[in-house]
Symmetry: C2
Subunit: 456 residues, 2 copies
């Protein structure tokens, strides 16, 4: 069986919901459908989730929030009308929303936030279930409470507990198609909690794992994952199949289709993920799989991302000093800084850090501690770097690949500030100045994809 | 003024000592001369220091050690005769050696070891001072005790304390040329302690720093430092000038002319070190300097070394986990393992380690802890790697250099297992399988030196 998840743009209005219905109808194995809250219908539109956040803020501020509430209701109302559903569903929805506000206002702001934010997905699922039944498809709304999607208690980041998977496995036996709202679950005490970013992706992934689906179909608004960022490279070629590891390494940038953590439950069971386009369901899409047939000369994709800083530290005879690297990382940890790479020479080490984690005060403290506690000879930060990452299974066994990549970069006239190869069997990373990022991405694309097209 | 240090082969016999005398005579600014113990005169010969160790072992074992003692005395006796010195010096030497044994036998084995081992340098200095005076050069033996070369107390590694530099500065005012034995100093309590490996180099470096010499001349038995290991590359070109940093990075392998730590005192003051050949003093030698004129396209040297292992660890979402790298390095630290590099992907990290630090038990413990404490998905060791390092000041600003190096390696058909660039401005390191080491070294030499020769 297939678990399908439809993102915000896929359920934004009646026209989109009809596409969803048609996709669900067209394949009998699509038995479990996870839906997001309605997203934007046009670029300037506001997502339902954002309308809901606006509503909660109004409630908490103690202002008259009826207008804000009606904005939410009206988004669903329009869809209901366009889908030919009767008004009762809208009345129920308005009643429920008011009830949630009154009921939860006294408990805690966080609880109120979670409960109201979750309405977008919840109402979306109810409406789609109603529409499917209207057009003769036996479908049923089942929510996290009924299905037993149990999550841990606050304040830890929301995660499904093991028991949830056991409970959700029963969904597999439903005679009707299950329409399930994404984004939230309930604690054992019955408290609603929303997931982090990518919330509906997470729900879909949990359900797919629980029922041990054959595939987890993730419907969004793109045909596929591209080999390079289409905003930089003209018409990059499409990726038909990619491994989890490759997807992870590409998630560096330009490949934000998926939120990494969302994949965890399916990764653990080796369930393939199929990224498809609601607006073009005939397109092949991109399959994310555990293993794939590896072409030893092929790069699967190239990603690039700006916003990196480099912390440089040198000390004579550093490599003789057991514990130096560990002490340095400890200092960073105490500043809550995670790092990407730590290339090193015999007497120096650099730490590649996402710049957004740094402040002038943090930098000053780190520099001071490196001098005082590590007795470093020289310590400084440099900013304005990009990372360009080539990704492909087995690429590190491909003779000459690093040479081709470095040559393609040097053709642009840019200097390579950092190379990191040697751990991942899937990626080769170059650090370069931000200003060269796009040029280098194009040059690498040309080398590994455009030229390959001629060769084939 | 110049501080000169002569190594073991430079003072191995009368013929060599005459060369030393001639070198000292030929330049009035050579005022401070540090000497080693007599080294090998021919490949099967035994160094005096080894004869002394043999002697101590005999003393401690309680066997009749007179024969061993006479072997030491006779090495000096031959030299004294050949240099035309009278027998009194040998009588004194024999008396001193017996006295050291009787006097120190009761104190501690370590003390006895240090005191006897130091005789090689001490007698060598006395004899060379005597010879210089005999040929009309005003020279005077001054030892660490008289000059105040004070070292720290055991059991810490022997190091000169700050006071020693102040004391030794007075040597600059000596009217006679000072002949100083390398390898040892005295604690404040008057106990003799020897330095680590490279002991005479250390003494020379300390003296050069103390008197703020214009140059520290290090006489050995090679003309210069070569751009690559002459045992692998045919007639590699000579390095005339090299910076401390370059020398350090090259010390990886094939460049064991110098013991790194020995350089520390001169590095701190920026005193240049001149490596010269006692047997060919006219040769230009190699100068190790703080800064040099940088040719942006030049590599200064290439070194290669075998005997590396790689510890590989992967874990899904590793890069999100603050503290992962630190915890891993802590485990290694607790096993007393130092590491060379830590290339990383998003979900994996490799640690490059000198294999001699590993045992099957240590590996097993590390693997177990990585699974249990770091909850890694996959952990294993791989062995049999070599590191090839390209070294040159400013090379990391040289566009296309990494491309040329990677291309030269790929021409050999070898795969690049690891690339490390980005911290050191002086080096670019490649990890490769040991079996390719020599071929790759030759290919890189061809690319950066042989071809450059045609180009110039």
């Amino acid at each position: 069986m297939k678990v399908c998840k439809f993102g915000g743009t896929s359920v934004a209005n009646a026209e989109q919901i009809k596409k969803v219905a048609s996709i669900v109808k067209s394949d009998k194995t699509r038995r479990l459908v996870v839906v997001s809250a309605p997203g934007k219908r046009f670029p300037e539109d506001i997502k339902v989730t954002d309308l809901l956040i606006d509503l909660v803020n109004g409630v908490i501020a103690g202002v008259d929030y009826q207008e804000r509430l009606e904005k939410v209701v009206s988004r669903f109302h329009v869809n209901a009308v366009d889908l030919g559903l009767d008004d009762t569903i809208i009345e129920e929805l308005r009643r429920d929303l008011n009830k949630r506000i009154h009921h939860n206002l006294q408990i805690s702001e966080q609880y109120l936030f979670d409960t109201i934010k979750a309405c977008g997905e919840d109402y979306s699922a109810r409406m789609i279930a109603a529409y499917l039944n209207k057009i003769g498809v036996k479908a049923r709304y089942i929510g996290p409470k009924e299905a037993g999607l149990i999550v841990n208690e606050a304040p830890s980041r929301t995660m499904a507990i093991d028991e949830a998977y056991k409970n959700l496995a029963a969904l597999k036996n439903s005679e009707d198609i299950v329409i399930f709202p994404g984004f939230f679950g309930f604690t054992k005490a019955g408290r609603l909690r929303t997931f982090d970013r990518g919330g509906s992706d997470i729900t879909g992934s949990i359900l797919a794992a629980a029922v041990q689906a054959d595939v987890y179909e993730n419907f969004t608004d793109v045909d596929c994952v591209f080999t390079a960022n289409p905003k930089v490279v003209n018409h990059p070629s499409e990726i038909q199949e990619i491994t989890y590891r490759e997807m992870r390494e590409l998630s560096y940038a330009g490949f934000s289709v998926f939120h990494d953590e969302a994949l965890m439950p399916v990764v653990k069971l080796g369930i393939p993920v199929h990224i498809k386009n609601t607006n073009n369901p005939e397109a092949k899409g991109t399959k994310i799989v555990e293993k794939r047939h590896v072409n030893p000369h092929a790069i699967t994709g190239i990603s690039a991302d700006a916003g990196f800083s480099i912390l440089y530290i040198s000390k004579y005879l550093m490599n003789r000093e057991i514990g130096f690297g560990r002490k340095l990382l400890q200092i960073l940890e105490e500043e809550y800084i995670s790092y990407e790479h730590t290339p090193s020479g015999l007497d120096d080490i650099s730490v590649i850090i996402r710049s957004h984690q740094l402040t002038p005060e943090k930098e000053e403290r780190i520099i001071k501690r490196a001098y005082n506690e590590l007795h470093a000879d020289d310590v400084y930060f440099r900013h304005g770097f990009s990372m360009v990452v080539l990704v492909g299974e087995g690429m590190n066994n491909s003779t000459g690949l690093a040479a081709r990549a470095a040559t393609a970069i040097s053709r642009t006239g840019a200097n390579i500030e950092m190379i990191n190869q040697g751990s991942s069997e899937v990626s080769l990373a170059f650090g370069i100045l931000e200003k060269y990022e796009d040029t280098i991405l194009r040059s690498l694309y040309e080398e590994f994809f455009a030229m390959a097209a001629y060769a084939n």
